[in-house]
């Protein structure tokens, strides 16, 4: 009978081994998938049993902290945002019912302490065995609250956004979108957010981060990219001369310059440098035609177009800048192989199919400011683990889209746009400012989208800014440039390196 008993034993052990295999499947293999199920209340609630790390501004002001609540024998750490809406776009929210957004989502591993080193991980397992609360890591951001405040005030009741970046490191100093929301309302008072309206745009979309998700035609602000391509390929120099008849001819049709009250401006003989200073469309139209769509877009791609920006925010909340096909109410990004669908003349001065985010334009400005070297934009400066260890996030180079010489030439051209051209409203006494205006037309009779991208001081840049405003009757020079100036001033007046 023993052979039969062995068979029965084998059958029994096989059943128990199957249980180990099935446990492994659910606890290791399928676990991440189950954690993301929307009805997984266990996952959602358990996140709040972690003493979530706090989030700070560069000057140490608390942006997100915990409110301790006891319920059902557990201690829960729910979020509070002491500054309300001021940093909502960057910090986001962490809630039970509406999950997470912003840094609360992208930095969740830090905030829940899941980023630990080996020693930290072992200690954490020890903590668990002892039943003590898991403490997340504190996240220190690079946000400059003065700049946040000033940008928010300056944008006022407009629908728009502003991004400020430190060119040498990629640290994001300001990320502002208007209208915005109070993250403290997300959990209990969502109706308040739903009811937000704006006099300047409809729908107000307060949860849309216009700085990273808003797609707008860049208009003349894109001319710096066209100029970068023109100079960097060696096909043109700042002194290349042009004749402007007030229009350029594209596919046999005239494309006119910006119209003032007397009709399209006509500049006659001029150089590339003065064309950028005075934002002359016909010159850039002809450069675009000479370079062709492929070269133009290849340079745009070097600056990060057609890719998700490498910023430390949730990637599904980031829009890609590039050529878009508009079909019905839908926007579809064209792939690089479809560059030819664009019209090089209009694309060269930022019209036609081109749509960009303020973040992308700030990256362009910061890259020119940093001698053509693009740094990865980031909000998280450093992380303080619960054991006191500090993890610094080092600046990372993304690439070198243009030669340093090209960047120097572009800087000089952008400086004259502020000192003598369309961007004079961005002048700061005693500081050399480089900038470029943009006034994108959205169709005849429609209000404009206005832009200003800039950096200062031009000789040793500490800040690069992009500002966008929706539905404007004025130009980039009159509407967006003053806002960019205030943001740059706020950052320049804070002591250098006080926030690192």
């Amino acid at each position: 009978m023993n052979a039969r008993i062995r068979l029965a034993a084998l059958a029994s052990l096989t059943m128990l081994v199957a249980l180990i295999v099935a446990s492994t499947y659910w606890q290791a293999w399928a676990a991440p998938d189950l954690a993301n199920k929307s009805d997984n209340s266990i996952q959602q609630i358990s996140q709040f049993t972690i003493d979530r790390g706090r989030i700070f501004a560069a000057n140490g002001t608390t942006l997100a902290k915990n409110r301790i609540t006891h319920a059902g024998g557990q201690t829960y750490y729910f979020r509070r945002y002491p500054l309300g809406s001021l940093t909502a776009a960057a910090v986001g929210y962490a809630t039970q019912t509406r999950s997470r957004a912003g840094l609360e989502r992208s930095a969740n591993d830090y905030l829940t302490g899941a980023d630990q080193s080996l020693a930290g991980a072992i200690k954490q397992i020890g903590d668990r065995l002892l039943g003590s609360t898991i403490r997340g890591s504190d996240v220190y951001t690079s946000l400059n609250l003065d700049a946040q405040r000033i940008a928010t005030q300056a944008l006022g009741s407009n629908c728009g956004a502003a991004v400020a970046i430190e060119p040498s490191t990629g640290r994001v100093l300001a990320l502002v979108t208007t209208p915005t929301y109070n993250p403290n309302d997300v959990e209990g008072h969502y109706d308040r957010i739903r009811n937000i309206t704006s006099p300047s745009c409809s729908p107000a979309s307060p949860l849309l981060d216009r700085a990273t998700q808003g797609l707008y035609p860049p208009g003349s602000a894109f001319k710096v990219v066209t100029a970068a391509a023109a100079l960097d390929t060696g096909r043109f120099t700042p002194n290349s001369s042009f004749y402007d008849p007030g229009y350029c001819t594209e596919y046999g049709q005239p494309v006119t310059n910006f119209k003032d009250q007397f009709g399209p401006e006509v500049f006659g003989h001029l150089t590339l440098a003065t064309a950028l200073q005075d934002s002359v469309n016909s010159v850039f139209c002809n450069i675009g035609k000479a370079l062709g769509m492929r070269t133009l877009m290849n340079y745009a791609r070097r600056f990060g177009f057609d890719q998700t920006p490498p910023i430390d925010l949730p990637s599904d909340a980031l829009a890609i800048s590039g050529l878009y096909q508009r079909s019905h109410q839908h926007l579809r990004l064209l792939s690089p192989s479809q560059d030819g669908k664009g019209d090089p003349g209009r694309t060269a001065f930022g019209q036609d199919k081109l749509l960009v985010t303020p973040l992308q334009m700030a990256i362009v400005a910061a890259t020119i400011a940093n001698n053509g070297k693009e740094m990865r934009p980031h909000l998280v400066d450093r992380v303080r683990r619960s054991n006191g260890d500090i993890v610094r996030i080092r600046p990372q180079t993304v690439g070198q889209p243009i030669k340093p010489e090209t960047a120097i030439e572009l800087t000089q051209m952008m400086e004259s746009a502020v000192s003598a051209g369309t961007g004079q409203a961005a002048q700061i006494p005693g500081v050399r400012v480089a900038g470029k205006t943009g006034t994108a037309e959205n169709g005849t009779g429609q209000p404009n989208t206005t832009w200003f991208i800039s950096f200062a001081p031009a000789d040793a840049p500490r800040v690069a800014v992009a500002v966008v405003l929706q539905n404007q009757t004025g130009t980039g020079g009159t509407t967006a440039a003053p806002i960019a100036r205030q943001i740059m001033q706020a950052i320049l007046s804070s002591a250098p390196n006080s926030n690192s």
């Binding site: 009978m1 023993n2 039969r4 008993i5 062995r6 029965a8 034993a9 059958a11 029994s12 052990l13 059943m15 128990l16 081994v17 199957a18 249980l19 180990i20 099935a22 446990s23 492994t24 499947y25 659910w26 606890q27 290791a28 399928a30 676990a31 189950l34 954690a35 199920k37 009805d39 997984n40 209340s41 266990i42 996952q43 609630i45 358990s46 709040f48 049993t49 609540t69 006891h70 319920a71 059902g72 024998g73 557990q74 201690t75 829960y76 039970q96 397992i125 903590d127 668990r128 065995l129 002892l130 039943g131 003590s132």
Partner: protein, 425 residues
């Protein structure tokens, strides 16, 4: 060995206590000490009555009950107190069984029909008016005052004794396949199956069926019986599936616990909702709990089992679903360890069956051990979606008095057989 188990239990209780000190009194640590003393007494009884028996089984059972008590205590301290009382009764039953049968348990063989009939009687008890009591639509309990008891658990042991004894005495003739020898066997076992199916106790029905086939095979060596039995079972199951909505629902839950579209919810009058919000709610939430444990678990006392308003997320957590609570708090590491202890228990059980030299003892011991393994598989396999979920208890660990008492008697049976096996050598 026992000391080691004592230490683990104390650590477990201490861990729960530290993690949840805002609601649990410091006196709780004395629980662990109390149970340690209790097991020491059980150990001494075992040493006196069955000195040569397998030394590993009792500590393993102590570990499993200790773990179960710890988790029940963590989920609901009042239940743990009651469960503690049942452990005392179970250990008393353990000691009584050992003392009563210490000379020769094989005399049980001559009372085989008594065991067969008492198995039936125990299964029938809950169906009787007045003392019968039904929970969750299954009428499995009897009630004496405030104590509830599920006699089917003891019926299982009685049934195994009957099957082992009957099949041993008829071993040779049954192998010939003469139909008339199957008469009493099929009569008693068939009645048991009918009762179980009628009372919706599908898990036990499956368990009884599996035990029956296993002992039949062990006694007759005819795999054909197993094949025919399985075929009959499948036909029967298909019939029940067609006729019983309750069974159909279990299978649907097993195959498709998640739906993206709303389907009619039978328990809410056909209201359209996603299945994971309705029929498969318990299974799905339990899977979330298991997945939440991940590799290393949340730690004892730190798992999430209630909403922030205190409402329990998974129904029946401390009885049938205690595995998913343990899986969340102990993680894959802990669960693998737990399953390894269960495997060791099974290995020791079969080891005894191999060593002992008479047919009845072999059948009894192998039958008890197989029943233990199969019961574990049916409940955990159901929770892990390997097989359709049918509610039965997890041996030694689940909250439930009858289960604890029955398993301690099972343990005593294994030790008695082991004593006999080792004595003879």
């Amino acid at each position: 060995m026992l000391i080691l188990v004592g230490l683990i239990t104390v650590t477990g209780f201490a861990s729960v206590y530290i993690a949840r000190q805002n609601e649990i009194s410091a006196g709780s640590l004395s629980y662990a000490g109390f149970f340690f003393a209790l097991y020491l007494i059980a150990h001494i009884v075992a040493r006196l009555t069955v000195p040569d028996a397998d030394p590993y089984l009792l500590p393993m059972a102590a570990f499993l009950t200790g773990l179960g008590l710890t988790e029940i205590y963590r989920l609901n301290p009042t239940d743990a107190l009651r469960q503690g009382l049942w452990v005392v009764i179970g250990l008393a039953g353990f000691a009584a069984t050992l003392i009563a049968l210490r000379h020769d348990f094989r005399r049980l063989e001559s009372y085989k029909y008594l065991f067969g009939l008492s198995a039936l009687a125990l299964l029938f008890l809950p169906a009787l008016p007045k003392i019968g009591h039904s929970i969750n639509g299954a009428r499995l309990w009897v009630r004496f005052g405030s104590l509830q008891f599920q006699p089917g658990e003891l019926g299982k042991i009685a049934m195994i004794v009957f099957l082992a004894a009957y099949l041993h005495s008829k071993q040779e003739v049954l192998a010939l396949g003469r139909l008339k020898d199957f008469g009493p066997l099929l009569a008693i076992w068939g009645c048991a199956m009918l009762v179980l199916v009628a009372t919706h106790d599908l898990g036990s029905a499956l368990l009884f069926f599996g035990i029956f086939l296993a002992i039949l095979y062990l006694a007759t060596s005819r795999l054909l019986y197993v094949g025919v039995g399985t075929a009959l079972f499948l036909i029967g199951a298909a019939g029940v599936y067609e006729t019983t909505a309750h069974v159909r629902s279990r299978v649907i839950i097993w195959l498709h616990p998640w739906t993206t579209q709303a389907v009619p919810c039978p328990t809410r009058g056909g209201l359209l909702m996603q299945r994971q919000e309705c029929e498969s709610f318990q299974l799905v939430k339990s899977l979330y709990s298991i997945a939440q444990g991940g590799f290393s678990g949340t730690g004892l006392g730190k798992g999430t089992f209630a909403l922030t308003n205190g409402k329990t997320i998974i129904p029946d957590l401390n009885t049938d679903f205690i595995f998913s609570a343990l899986a969340q708090e102990l993680g894959l590491v802990g669960i693998a360890a737990l399953l390894l202890v269960l495997m060791l228990f099974v290995v020791r059980g079969f080891h005894i069956a191999l060593l002992v030299d008479d047919g009845f003892s072999k059948l009894l011991c192998a039958g008890l051990t197989f029943g233990f393994a199969l019961q574990t598989f049916i409940i955990i396999g159901g929770i892990l979606r390997l097989i359709p979920l049918t509610g039965i208890t997890l041996p030694f660990i689940s909250y439930g008095g009858s289960s604890v008492v029955a398993n301690f008697i099972l343990l005593a049976g294994l030790l008695l057989v082991s004593q006999r096996a080792n004595e003879a050598r």
